[in-house]
């Protein structure tokens, strides 16, 4: 007879946190990057929304910080199969940034310092689903995780949450971004395991 009681044999699967298919839980915060880390000064940082009619809306760092701040606590899911639950952020809702932008566009191409891009339906950036975040776990977002500011769209795979985000180009047609032109899915729903084109 063993000395280990059944109570020490681990939690049954039914009590595991709900994860999208094919994902594993991590307590770390892995750093993924497709290039050198941009170092962006807050003095020159800006966020720009360009509407399809050519109009532009710009925010400096000070202007971003003066907007109403939100503190989403969300689960994040990377297409490389790690998921991290209950992450704490602070930033500005994209709803707030889009307020006052006159657009009939259905798509957005997020673009970043360093040249990264990713495409999303505009509806997925609205309705309290997306933020431009600058703080993680109560501290300024480190550059390796996308600071000064990154997009946060937690209901899609994390490559959609563009690091070092610089702006959104609103578009009438969907234009695939950096990974989407190299085989990754245009939408990227982790619960439907939309990793690659055609999934």
């Amino acid at each position: 007879m063993g000395i280990v009681s059944p109570g020490f044999q681990g939690r049954p699967r039914t009590q595991e946190p709900a994860l999208p298919p094919g994902q594993y839980l991590t307590e770390d915060f892995p750093v993924l990057s497709a290039g050198p880390t941009p170092r962006v000064s807050l003095d020159t940082w800006e966020f720009v929304i360009s509407a399809e009619n050519g109009s532009e809306h710009r925010w400096s760092w000070q202007e971003l910080m003066a907007l109403p701040q939100e503190t989403p606590m969300v689960d994040i899911h990377c297409v490389t199969r790690w998921s991290k639950l209950g992450t704490n952020w602070q930033g500005v809702s994209v709803d707030t940034l889009l307020d006052g932008v006159d657009t009939g566009a259905h798509f957005a191409l997020a673009h970043s310092y360093g040249g990264y891009t990713t495409n999303l339906p505009l509806d997925d950036l609205r309705g309290g689903q997306a933020w431009v975040v600058h703080t993680f776990d109560g501290a300024p977002l480190p550059a390796e995780h996308g600071g000064p500011a990154r997009l946060l769209v937690p209901h899609l795979y994390f490559w959609k949450s563009a690091k070092w985000v610089r702006g959104l180009r609103l578009k009438t047609m969907d234009e695939p971004g950096f990974w989407e032109t190299a085989g990754y899915h245009d939408y990227g729903d982790p619960w439907r395991e939309q990793r690659y084109q055609g999934d």
Partner: protein, 97 residues
Amino acid sequence: MTEMSYLDGNMLDGPMRELLTVDLSSAVGRCENCGMTGSMASLHVYSHAPGLVGRCPSCEEVMVRLVRGPDRAWLDMRGTTFLQVPMPMEQPFPGPL
């Protein structure tokens, strides 16, 4: 005047097969962005990412992206103007007539 005829893509199979089995580190590539021409072995490759990203060592622009899915792969070389690949001599060099 007759139109030039063309063959279908199957014609490329043999020549491309010969080219794509080459050891890439022995190839020379030209960066589409800055024009730097050098060994592909000198690229800066970022692998902690959803795919492999090879960047020009001079301007850091992307020259190669390679994504490997479980049953498919994607290769994007739009940032590489050309690859110069060493090949075996096709036939003995003809001597002087």
